[in-house]
Symmetry: C2
Subunit: 424 residues, 2 copies
């Protein structure tokens, strides 16, 4: 269940704004819905309700095979081939609950020799399988790391057994990794053609890591489908994804420069990383776009709270107020000293609730617009709902800004610099 | 060894700027050095060369006692009582190298019932000691969590043994935690009076967690002392901490809104969290201050690279180009497909180096000022050098801005909202 609360942003984004923007919103939403125009990159829109039984069967088979023959799977990918999978595992399997479970470790998301060499040593005493995720197979980081780990597996298990322990998630037909995987007889899963990296977490890119970790990905898909339904049923003026997009659009036009996705639960913090890519790559172009950043409260209230409260008013806070059904009960005990006695017998859930409320009051009164997205439910469906909610908000916001929310031309500049240097 | 490189920021921060600002810099640096004025909060300046043998003896005793009677120590603290200790452990003991070592787990850095309840369950099968860090003993998060874990220990070990497993790092004389610890006969260590939370990592606040984790904190202190020496020896115009502060000061005056500390090594990423508090709390006030943010490259090039390259030019990148002596060798093997063959036999160290260079070229040419801080050495001394370098830069920058870099009045607003709600 996702609900949008606009009370603490109404000083900046008024009902008058909403009324005046309604025709523009109607038009932009129509543009988004129009599958024919800019069709490339819109595959994610119907994906949660498309038919995937044969894909699910392939995923389940590979996952159960890899879980049987290993206790660690290294998943190699970067950007959209990493941030989504990481964020769903963090949300569904919070810290300190993973002991004894099949381990999923991400790699190739950067180029650190330290990280990767120590990881290889860590693998020595474990049974290992490998997943590599790359549409083209030529992105530098996952290519370099994949071949390093492929070589490790081949030396350790022999080439045939290594190949039986590797799965490539890549283009169904073309590309360098597709050809390589076919030649080596790896198991493979397809990355759909019309879904860009940052919109791809509900494809095999995210679903196989979920299956490997033992996450019920069907519930995640159901969550996304439910959100799709919910958004389709309401008028555009009551559509929470549209309203969120309109609010941040108006704030941007008013001169706000950065947005922070504020989370309170550590298990939700990685979701902000997924959100950051979604908005950063989709809307940060043509000299336009809010700077998407992340704050983890209440931790960062004790580092960034001072800045947010008292510095220049350039920041918008979007509070992802997520509370997940399986959260255990925990209460402050008795026996506290006098000054802290007001905390006795208070539940941590209550403390969080009061923190969310108090911070929104303090910050919005100081001039920081606060949007609250209330999210409740079980971790799996809530994850699916959130993904679909933000994808719609982000793509719709792109039409409002007049930019293409489905490309990322700016990522090429450093890559070609690098390639030129390495090839000479 | 720390070296500042200004080539990619010279388009914005010219030598002419430096020359014109020299008298102001001279004056502000004098203000910083003047121990008499604003003396409160300046204890960190001579701390690395002050005499601490008796403190070290106390720390070593507690650490060896706790290491003998437990395999996990939970360290409870928030803000400056958390970010420093976390960042030094991350830098010295990178991921996948901690198996079999005494574990240090942080808690009370937020209010999650999920995180803390699962952590308590995790502790059941381990031997546990506890450190609580709080100057006043009334900060809500560590108070609530400390008493929850204190209660757990008392129920598990009995009150006397629990007390023998708890250490309080707090004010030497006054405050709520001091009184409580004395009554319960906990081991205690002092938080110095004239060192604020965000400048306190080299006091017992950071040193005890280091000692518990088996980190040679004397090397860290030596690194800080070396940096102090180095900065004292050079003319102000050649002082790298001053130059860094001047560059970001000029960029701020030119209208840049946010600074990102860019790291390339995962083990250094948490250091950016320490840096963020230092600058956010010290300079984010009176309607003034750059928004301090963090980017982890090359990971975030595949999420935020698009924004940085092509969006509004509001961001300054400060590249913390750290390479640590103990980094293992790792090379891409042979056997790559044609398109990736240029990567064969290239070391990951080389790949990182080329990435740093290429990204700075691509981004600065697109209009993003890039400051590079080259940092080389062993992890412990380098950590100490970096801490002292940034503390000087930050405090000096405060004098340039005309703000007090040693207070944080804005942190109170949400706290009093919360207290009012909970007390009624």
């Amino acid at each position: 269940m996702i609900q949008l609360h606009l009370e603490k942003v109404r000083k900046w984004f008024t009902e008058e704004h909403e009324k005046r923007l309604a025709p523009l919103a109607e038009f932009a939403y129509g543009e988004l819905q129009n599958r024919d125009r800019d069709a490339f990159g819109k595959g994610w829109m119907s994906w949660p309700v498309d038919h995937h039984e044969s894909l699910y069967a392939d995923i389940d088979k590979i996952a159960s095979d890899f879980r049987a023959k290993s206790n660690v799977t290294v998943v190699i990918g970067i950007g959209g081939s990493y941030l989504g999978a990481r964020s769903v595992l963090s949300m569904v399997q919070p810290e300190f609950t993973r002991e004894g479970k099949h381990e999923v470790i991400f790699a190739g998301q950067q180029l650190s020799p330290t990280y990767h060499a120590h990881l290889l040593k860590y693998l020595d005493s474990r049974e290992v399988t490998l997943v590599v995720v790359s549409k083209s197979g030529t992105t530098l980081e996952p290519s370099a790391v994949f071949h390093t780990f492929r070589d490790y597996l081949e030396k350790r298990y022999g080439e045939a057994e290594a190949s039986a322990r590797i799965c490539a998630i890549t283009d169904a037909q073309k590309g360098s990794l597709r050809a390589y995987a076919d030649e080596k007889k790896y198991a493979t899963l397809p990355i759909p053609d019309d879904i860009g990296g940052r919109y791809s977490v509900l494809s095999a890119v995210g679903l196989l890591p979920m299956a490997l970790a033992g996450v019920d990905y069907r519930k995640v898909m159901q969550g996304a489908a439910n959100m799709r339904d919910q958004l389709a049923k309401v008028a555009i003026t009551a559509n929470p994804a549209v309203q969120y997009a309109l609010a941040r659009h108006v704030l941007y036009q008013q001169g706000f420069v950065a947005e922070a996705l504020v989370t309170y639960e550590p298990r939700v913090a990685d979701f902000a990383g997924w959100w950051q890519q979604l908005f950063g790559e989709s809307q940060g172009k043509d000299g336009i776009g809010l700077y998407p950043t992340m704050l983890q409260y209440t931790t960062d209230l004790h580092s960034m709270g001072q800045y947010v409260q008292d510095s220049r008013k350039v920041l918008v806070e979007t509070v992802l107020d997520a509370f997940i059904d399986d959260a255990p009960e925990l209460k402050v005990p008795v026996g506290l000293d006098e000054k802290n006695r007001y905390l006795e017998n208070v539940s941590f859930h209550k403390l969080q609730e009061v923190a969310v409320e108090s911070v929104m009051i303090a910050h919005s009164e100081a001039g920081v617009p606060n949007i609250r997205i209330e999210a409740r439910g079980d971790a799996e469906s809530l994850y699916g709902e959130l993904v679909y909610f933000f994808e719609v908000a982000c793509a719709f916001g792109g039409y409002l800004l007049g930019i293409n929310a489905f490309d990322q031309p700016g990522v090429e500049a450093y890559k070609s610099e690098m390639r030129a240097r390495l090839q000479k």
